[in-house]
Structure formats: C-alpha cells, structure tokens
C-alpha cells in the first residue's frame, strides 16, 4: 500500500481538496476491511460456540458405560453401543464396494477411456450425481435394495445406499491420484514389455494408493455423518441387539442421536449431545488418519 500512502502524502503536501477525498476513501476501506474480517470471525465463532454447546450439554454422560451400554427408555441407563457397532458395520461393508466401484471407474476414465463418448458421459454424470441431495439416494435405496431386491431394512441395504452416495468422492479423489503419477513411470513399464493392465496394476495403482486411501477414508467419514438416506432405508432407532451379519437390522450413530433429540425430555437431549461428541470424535480420528496417510506416504515426483 506504499504507493497509495505516498499519493496521499503528496496530496496533503500541496493542499489539494483530493486529500479529504482520499481520507474518506481510506475510511471506507477500513470499514469494509473490518466488515469482511467480522464475517470471517463469525464463522469461526459459530464453530467454537457449537462445539462448546455440545460439550457442555453432553460431557456428563460420557464414560465407558455410555459406549458399551444398549439403548434404554431410562436416560441414565442408555448407551450408544449398538449404534456405534452399526455405524462400523455400514462403513465396513460399504468400503470394499466403494473401492472396487470407485477405483474401477477412475482407472477406466484415466487409463483407458480417454476422450470417448462413454468417458465423457460418465464424467458429466458424476458431476451431476455429486449434487443430488442425499435423501434422494435414500429413496433410491428404499425402492431398489429394501423393496426391489427384498432385502428389507438391513445392514447390506444401508451400506449399498451409502456406497452409491459417496461414490463420486472416491472417483474424483482416485482420478486426481492417478493423474499425479508421472507418465514416465508408465513409459518405463511399457519399455520393459509390460502390458497396459500389468502397468496399471503393478505400477500406477501402487503409486497412487496413498491418494486413493485418503479419498476413500474421507468419503467414509462423510458416510458416517449422513443421517437422511439411512432414515429412508429404515435403520431402526430402537435396537436391543448388535447386528451379527449383513442381513440383520441395525441403527447408526446419527440416527440414534436424531431419535434422542426428538424425545421431549431434556435428559435425552443431553444423551444426544454425548452421542454427538462420540460421532465427532470418530470423524476426527478418521480425518486425522487421512491426513497422516497423505503426509506419510505422499510421493513427490
């Protein structure tokens, strides 16, 4: 800003009326600077207040028993164990499906598809899918998996619905990871006589693996926080058991939280807050893992 300050000093020295004009312009600048800073800090303040509010409401219920108990109609005896296990089931079943579909699609687009009509159609389609509201995926899951295939409201139906929901995230992350692998590696492999698939499988994919895993973990952490689609595909809210297989009923963390929030008693609101702390802790661990993987194994070519 030195130039502007010099201009102001010069104007003041010769005493032209521009000096008053410049002072006013600088006041306007300072005013809007403060306003923009205020907007930024408002976002931060809301984040702090939100976390403080949740912790203040829920910390009393947080102990080992809360994590290992089943739900109960008495708030002081209720726990989040089945929801925690249910969330792990859904994510655990969705992960391999996601990896196969997401990595397969990305490899096709980056290594084989080129600029073919199919590849372009798939790209446009992925852009659009990413903008579809998550509850619409719930409706699809309800019609397709729960009723169409007759699975019912079971772990498998929820996991498949979630896999479709976060698929675009994995595809885009894998595409970026594949693009970051330098062509020289591929050329070296071809020069040794390897076929295209051998090059992809033994050279390109291992080199892109950290990026792929990071993207998949971030996608799964989004799936863990999603509530709406699983409500539609019928993750029940009061289960007295832990799912033992793909075809068992289940509930997940956010749905357990939702059902506690909607109960009228204040004690259940506190339980919901405790559940939110557990949910945020799980997300923190997953995001931390993703960042660690990226920093630890990321290669610079």
């Amino acid at each position: 800003m030195a130039r502007v300050l010099e201009a102001g000093a010069a104007a003041r020295a010769v005493g032209v009326p521009a000096a008053a004009h410049l002072r006013r312009r600088r006041r306007v600048d300072r005013f809007f600077r403060s306003l923009c800073l205020l907007a930024t800090l408002t976002g931060l303040a809301v984040l702090v207040v939100l976390l403080a509010d949740v912790v203040a409401d829920g910390w009393r219920h947080l102990d080992g028993q809360f994590l290992t108990r089943f739900n109960s109609r008495l708030p002081e005896r209720a726990g989040i164990f089945p929801a925690l296990v249910g969330s792990l089931w859904v994510v655990g079943v969705a992960a391999p499906v996601l990896l196969v579909l997401g990595v397969g699609t990305a490899v096709y687009l980056e290594e084989y598809g080129g600029n073919s009509v199919w590849a372009r159609l798939i790209k446009i389609n992925i852009d659009n899918l990413a903008g579809v509201p998550s509850i619409i995926y719930g409706i699809l899951g309800l019609a397709l998996f729960v009723r169409g295939l007759g699975l019912g409201t079971v772990v498998l139906a929820g996991a498949l619905t979630m896999a479709l929901l976060v698929l675009p995230v994995v595809i885009v992350a894998t595409q970026e990871a594949l693009r970051a692998v330098p062509p020289s590696l591929r050329h070296a492999s071809y020069a040794l006589g390897a076929t295209r698939w051998q090059t992809t499988w033994r050279v390109v994919l291992p080199a892109a693996l950290p990026g792929i895993l990071t993207g998949t973990i971030l996608a799964l952490s989004r799936a863990i926080g999603e509530t709406a689609p699983l409500i539609v595909v019928g993750a029940v809210t009061f289960v007295r058991f832990v799912p033992a297989g793909l075809l068992d009923p289940y509930t997940v963390l956010p749905i357990q939280i939702y059902s506690w929030i909607m109960l009228p008693q204040d004690a259940f609101k506190e339980l919901a807050a405790a559940g939110i702390i557990v949910l945020l802790a799980v997300l923190l661990v997953m995001n931390g893992l993703a960042i660690y993987l990226r920093n630890r194994y990321q290669q610079r070519w």
């Binding site: 800073l37 930024t40 926080g225 539609v232 019928g234 939702y258």
Partner: protein
C-alpha cells in the same frame, strides 16, 4: 527383478496375462457404468412411482393445491405448502450465507496474509464437514432456546428461522471456499494495475476482483441454493412438521425433505398413497436441485473470464 528371463515371464505374463489385458478394460467399463445406472435408477424409480401417484392425485391438484394433509383422514396433496416452507428456509439461509461467505472470501483473498489464509481457510471448511444432524441439534437447543427465545418470546419450539440460520451457517463455507478460489484465480496484474492508479484494497476488491470473479461467485451461490433446498436433517429436527403457507418465520413449517423423513419414519405401507407421495415429493426436489446444478455449471462455463 532377478534376471531377464523370469522378469520377462512375469511381466509379459504369457497367455493368461494377455487375456487379462484384453478383458480388464471391459470389466472396468462395466464398473464405471454403475454410476450411470445409479442416475438412471434414480430417475426411473422416482418417475415410475410418481406415475402411480398421479393416477390417484391429479398433477394439477399436486402442483397448485394449497393443502398438504396426507396423514389425515381427509387427504389433500397440494405441494405448495412444502414448497413455501422449503423456499422460506432457503431464503433465510442465503440471507445469512451470502454476506458471511462473500465477506470471508474477500477477506481471505484480498486482505489476509498468506499465513492467516492457510490457517483460516481449512478451519472455515470444518463447518462444512460437521454432520448436519449436529447443526439440527444446535438449531433446536441453542439458536432457538438460547438466542431466538430472548429476541422473540412467542417463537415456536420448532420454527423456520432457527433452521434457516443453521442451514445458512452450513452452506457458508461452500460460498466462501468456491468464491475465494475464483478470486484467487484473478491474475495479479489486474490488481497491480488498479493499485498503481492509487486504488485502496476495498476499491480493488469490489471494482476489479469481484467483477472479474463474478461467474465463480454466482455459481457458488447457486450451488449453495441447491444444497440448502436438499438439506434434510436440520429442517427435520428444527423446523417442525407442520405444512402450511405462511410468511411468518417464527412458526413451524415443513419442507419437502422434512416430509420425506416424516413419511419414511411412519413406516409407509408399500403401494399406499403415502408411499408414492414420497416419490412425487422426491422428484420435485430432484428436479429443483438438478436445475440449480445445471444452472451453476452453465454460469461457470458461459460467463467465465479466461486469463492466461
């Protein structure tokens, strides 16, 4: 690789390797078609069940009816109350998110130091990573109970205002992040030219950078609009479940997404009018967000200023 002979055997892979090489592209193409099939599946299921719904309820009544009472004995399926609720909450959300998001974007792009930006931007993006059920809890127990109750003592426990504010906070990082990206893409020489003419930072931001980045900024707002329309858990928790045509944001309303949740929780009987109404509301929501997303893409492509 130990020696040339075994190495060559492993790499070229013989007949099995060649077969694999021929078949893998087809397998991969099949896998990649799942995403296309997903889109087709969404459209077909929504359209199919909606057609069944329209056999019982005329499309005219659906689109122009002013009453939505599917769970009453006297059933009416006019979607206007749900649309009004959705639009009111979306409008409140944008009233919050546009000034906050644009202000943050301008501050990060034009005022903040590099170090401040590197810290502030990811922290603001955390707001987008928080599950929406958490915002729902925050809207119901904090925004309504602690803040709004003091300002408006006669506010309902469930109200459109608290849900709108929470949705606004949730979509703020979308606007700030995408707008900041667009502003950062404006070349430095444009700013330097304006500074050389004696412009202040605000003059550069508002008269040079913002107009140059306008297509990115507007498309970020349209995307935020689309996200706000489709947001479900915040409104299901905080806005209530009373479909009504009202201008009063202190009352309980119901949105399209809120109805879908309510109907799904009610264990809708397969084939019943409640079950198919879910799809009719779903396709309306889908068409709205699809239109918005295409509009955002169009704006970004059509009005982009390309700089080398």
């Amino acid at each position: 690789m130990a020696g040339p002979a075994p190495g060559r055997e492993r790499w070229a892979g013989g007949a099995a390797g060649r077969t694999l090489d021929r078949w893998m592209p087809r397998v991969l193409l099949l896998l990649s078609l799942v995403s296309v099939v997903t889109t087709v599946g969404i459209v077909l299921t929504l359209a199919g069940e909606t057609a069944v719904f329209f056999r019982a309820v005329s499309p005219v009544e659906f689109l122009t009816g002013r009453q939505w009472t599917p769970l009453f004995a006297d059933k009416h399926f006019g979607i206007l109350p749900l649309l009004a609720g959705t639009m009111m909450i979306t409008a409140i959300a944008l009233l919050i998110a546009i000034p906050l998001g644009l202000g943050s974007a301008i501050y990060l792009s034009e005022y903040a130091s590099d170090r401040a930006r590197r810290i502030l931007k990811p922290v603001l993006e955390l707001l987008a990573g928080i599950p929406t059920i958490v915002y729902g809890y925050f809207a119901l127990t904090f925004i309504t109970q602690v803040v709004l109750k003091r300002l408006f003592p006669d506010i309902s426990v469930f109200n459109a205002l608290s849900a709108g504010i929470a949705v606004g906070i949730m979509v703020t990082p979308l606007i700030s992040s995408l707008s900041e990206d667009a502003m950062a893409a404006v070349p430095r020489r444009l700013r330097d030219g304006a500074y050389a003419l004696g412009a202040t930072r605000w003059e550069v931001a508002s008269q040079v950078v913002l107009p140059a980045a306008l297509s990115g900024v507007i498309s970020s707002v349209v995307l935020a609009f689309s996200r706000a329309i489709g947001e479900t858990m915040i409104v299901a928790v905080a806005a209530g479940s009373t479909p009504r045509l009202t201008w009063n944001p202190l009352e309980s309303v119901q949105t399209m997404t809120g109805y879908i949740v309510q109907a799904a929780l009610g264990d809708v009987g397969h084939g019943g009018l409640e079950y198919t109404s879910l799809f009719a509301v779903g396709i309306t929501l889908f068409l709205f967000t699809l239109g918005m997303n295409l509009l955002a893409l169009y704006i970004r492509g059509r009005f982009r200023e390309a700089y080398q």
